[in-house]
């Protein structure tokens, strides 16, 4: 049995994190949160989350960075936007969860070998390189970087997709791939300049 203190002291919070949350595009309304719980009630995944969306909102705006960024909940969001449209204070909760995921990835806090996190990074890498996503190749990459056994579980479906011509292994890409490099570089420069 491990006994640990659950309640945090005020001094253990990270005010910079709270500031970052309220300053980001889409985060300005988080201070208006009433803690009504409409978001958690409507969320199809909240039953499985360690912190429900309502809890995440409160933790984030009070600066509980560790709890937010290491929460499994942020990786469970399916982007269904049910919480965002139900929120009586019009807080775009789904959007905030993207930002938490982005921050967790940047700070290498995401759960290693966890499919959703691996998928996100491989997806972005493919878009940056080719400008388009080839689903079959993406799935293969994700399987190789998580549990290779997963491929076996998908063979039945994979065969069905091949049979019906819904899976190709060609490499989809755009012509102007140089555009991608320029866009990424330009955004990086702007972000640095604006200290975003």
């Amino acid at each position: 049995m491990v006994i640990r203190r659950i309640v945090k002291f005020e001094a253990e919070r990270d005010p910079d994190f709270a500031n970052w949350v309220t300053r980001m595009a889409g985060g300005e309304r988080i201070r208006h949160c009433l803690q009504c719980g409409q978001c958690s009630g409507t969320c199809p995944l909240s039953l499985y989350m360690d912190h429900t969306p309502r809890q995440l909102m409160h933790l984030a705006r009070e600066g509980f960075k560790e709890e937010v960024l290491t929460s499994s909940a942020i990786w469970m969001c399916t982007s269904c936007y049910a919480c965002a449209v139900k929120c009586p204070k019009k807080i775009n909760i789904t959007h905030l969860l993207y930002a938490f995921k982005e921050r967790a990835i940047t700070e290498h806090r995401y759960p290693k070998r966890f499919v959703v996190a691996v998928l996100a990074r491989q997806f972005a890498r493919m878009v940056n390189k080719s400008g388009r996503v080839t689903e079959s190749r993406l799935m293969l990459k994700v399987c190789l970087r998580t549990t290779i056994v997963r491929i076996l579980g998908l063979t039945g479906i994979g065969w069905g997709l091949l049979r019906t011509g819904r899976m190709g292994f060609g490499n989809e890409h755009i012509e102007a791939r140089n555009d991608l490099v320029k866009i990424i570089e330009s955004v990086r420069a702007t972000r640095k300049e604006l200290a975003l």
Binding site: A25, L45, T78, C80, V116, A124, R132
Partner: protein, 291 residues
Amino acid sequence: MTYAWYPGCSLRGTGRAYEESLLAVFKALGVEVEELKDWNCCGSTTYLSVDELTSYALVARNLALAGREKRDIVAPCAACYMVLNKTHHYVNDYPDVKLAVNRAMQAIGLVYDEKVKVRHPLDVLLNDVGVKAIKEKVTKPLKGLKVAPYYGCQIVRPYATFDDQANPVAMDRLLEACGAKVVHYPLKTTCCGGSQKGALPEVGLDLIHYLLSEAKRQGADVMATVCPLCQFNVEAFQQDAASVRPAVSMPVVYFSQLMGLALGCSAKAVGLKRCLVSVEPLLAEKEIAYA
């Protein structure tokens, strides 16, 4: 007026039948579309959680390309539709995002165009073509076919531009115009689990099971979808769901496949053979004729 057709990556992969059938429907109804030249991936909701700002800039390239052609975009995939619209909103609402996007477009010699409308095929078919014109073109009505209309999330959430967020009816109207009976389906905008099936099978499979069993309970023969991910999840994982919950088997097609058949398009033209759970026995049983 010609629309810029933005198929998105999924319609070139698992959702191939969606593109085939929609283009067949557009052709039958005289809606002119031309593929947006050298379009790139919208990044879906996935890229948003890796690098939000870059995501907007990548999406903006498509809006700029369409603006250069002076065309509005038609985006059939739910994620593309949502992300393209979201980019417009965030560029409009936040000066920092606008600055980053404008500079990125400048770097590739394009101009972000805020006037480019992003529309969904449901919107175009219902509001530009109209129920009356569709009814006139129906040659093989879907008489006796009971359909559960499944919209999923991102067509109406968070940016409902042409339909209600909780109870959308655009697809209902279109399928009724084709002679089908649309059943009451309270789960029409409930989440299919997105890509969670891969991460947490028991969670994804539960959601898929609820969608199927409720459709069955309401008397539906077939489910009609508007999103490639919904279609894939609910169709491909029926067997997996049967391993944890009572088995429910039901064909899951794109609404445009059914519409296409009613408009006299051939089974091949609407990609009927691409179904994993075949819809053909059902059509035979209901004695619904198609080309």
